[in-house]
Assembly symmetry: C2
Homo-oligomer: 347 residues x 2
């Protein structure tokens, strides 16, 4: 049984005394094949272990039926949800996905992009790494007309098709919510403001402060990466502020959880001393104490929408170049970490 020759359409043709062309056509349900002939071929194929050779076929067709997915990191709830969404659509359309992750490094991202290009994916879905500053490395795709669709972490130049949530609005809602809980001094813990997601949330935060007549202070902005260490440092900074802030909008649930734990260990009461809102609606939010108020960020939907649009473009239904920005709905999920249980003392 080991490593025998693969059956090919020629083998089938020979054994049925017909030509390979007919076999090929029959297998593709080409209309111009006699029903009886097709049945004969189908029956025969069902008995043998024939599997079509995708390389021969791709070589002719110049289509790979594969799309590349480039993400900044695999170890996050959000990303795996997106992948699940993408997978759902691609699988049903008979496309494979090749997943590459950049570990937040622009260099690795560029290498991955090049690799996916060489593998001749029919399209690309990408979320940019932390320190990606331009899209030069995507140029081969653009030049060759291979569709690229960005999601979540995107460039804000407005010339590319992107699938995002309204980060500014979410930032605004989160901050507004804290203000409504009586918070007057709200810190914002976030990451590199060069990335659209973070700069937009920051913008929303600033706008909400402004609209409510609250002053913004530089000190209230804490920028770090998204590691556990950064979360702990943020907590430390918050503790050392005086007066201590009474609210925190943290750009990521994991960071928020780390922060909360550190603060609580120092005896800070949440939400009464400081109310907290996270971002992402990760599973973790419901398991920590108090449960975390957060922005629901529909990863699976984003994945589905991205994949659907890309595949439609590839298939010639719809056109990515017409669609510029697809905004996925998102919203606030209120839980214990932000809802004050005792009345606030006025200043």
């Amino acid at each position: 049984m080991k490593k025998g020759k693969e059956t090919t359409i020629y083998d089938i043709a020979r054994q049925l005394n017909i030509s390979a062309s007919t076999v090929s056509r029959a297998l593709q349900d080409h209309p111009g094949v006699n029903k009886k002939t097709k049945k004969m071929i189908d029956d025969f194929v069902a008995q043998t272990s024939f599997r079509t050779n995708p390389f021969a076929s791709n070589l002719r067709n110049k289509q790979t039926k594969t799309i590349g997915v480039l993400v900044h990191e695999l170890n996050s709830n959000f990303i795996t949800s997106v992948l699940a969404g993408i997978e759902k659509v691609t699988a049903s359309e008979g496309f494979d996905i090749i997943i590459a992750h950049s570990s937040e490094s622009g260099t690795r991202e560029a290498a991955n992009v090049k690799n996916l290009f060489n593998k001749r994916v029919d399209g690309l879905i990408a979320s940019l790494s932390f320190d990606t500053s331009n899209l030069e490395h995507f140029q081969p795709f653009f030049d060759r007309g291979v569709p690229v669709l960005f999601f979540d972490r995107v460039e804000q130049d407005g010339h590319k098709t992107v699938v995002v949530i309204d980060n500014a609005k979410c930032g605004y809602i989160a901050t507004q919510h804290l203000i409504e809980q009586g918070c007057k001094r709200i810190v914002h813990v976030t990451s590199s403001l060069n990335r659209n997601v973070y700069s937009q949330r920051y913008k929303g935060y600033r706008d909400a402060l402004f609209d409510n007549g609250l002053a913004f202070e530089e000190d209230l902005l804490i920028v770090g990466d998204l590691t556990r260490k950064a979360g702990a440092e943020a907590a430390l900074k918050i503790l050392n502020m005086s007066p201590m802030p009474d609210g925190a909008f943290i750009t990521n649930d994991f960071m928020a959880a780390v922060c909360m734990r550190a603060l609580r260990e120092k005896g800070v009461a949440i939400p009464n001393d400081i109310a907290i809102v996270g971002f992402n609606n990760d599973a973790i939010g419901e398991l920590i104490e108090p449960a975390l108020t957060t922005i629901n960020y529909p990863g699976e939907d984003m994945g589905e929408i991205a994949a659907r649009n890309l595949i439609n473009h590839i298939k010639g239904i719809g056109n990515l170049e017409q669609t510029n920005t697809i905004i996925v709905r998102s919203g606030l999920v209120v839980r214990g970490s932000s809802v004050r249980t005792t009345p606030q003392t006025p200043d």
Copy 2:
């Protein structure tokens, strides 16, 4: 710039007035090519946008440089770590991975296996779904001699190559630890005992009880799936037991976290009323209160080891058929959820 013709080695050959064979050999660093010729070709290629056509190449070589990864679910910290480990190795070896997930369904698993087979992956790394009861659907791989390596969730028939941790030992250690903390009635919350990982952990649990002279009672075994709902139900069962157990070994950190939260909401003190040990060392364990004692389960290492062995087999270095079982080290991580802070009253 759009969709121009791809450059091929024939184009290169024509423009340099040499034959395509020479170009092909030069690009593969074949020794029998004159240094000057090679340099000329390399220089030329560097200027053009040539990229080799992997389909033509695969068609000849009958190698896809792709390995399939079949997992039961994407939405877990453990699995993404495994994927990261696999990706690390495969990327450095120039292999692509195609990821498929079965959503814990045996039917989808079979469909995915078939698909990966048709895509002609050079090898397969798989973790079985929940309700997979036999390996029939892998038969095409076995028949054709395509290497398959199972990890974590495996069949226990001993004829396949597997990468696992010593689940029985881990179950034993976890239980022993609880006993050393003074626990006398220890529940075990787990999942389908048809899966090796859970049955082995259960075995370890039983052995530890036995070795310490503690009786096992059917009631102390709670079997469910790994959802949040199942976690909440388990907590309810525990609450309704009388006398209430004083220890819990839960097969998964997420479930443990859900359980803990539910118990605490009912006023149960952890670890003093009930000490808890989880399994997996997910990030969540350090963020909940109290922090969760757990078994460290090195996903990334398993991924790396699996990929390394598979690729070595494919490359003819080493042979999977000689290696039967690879056991990855693992161990207990003690945190607050299991360490009693007040002395236990004797019975």
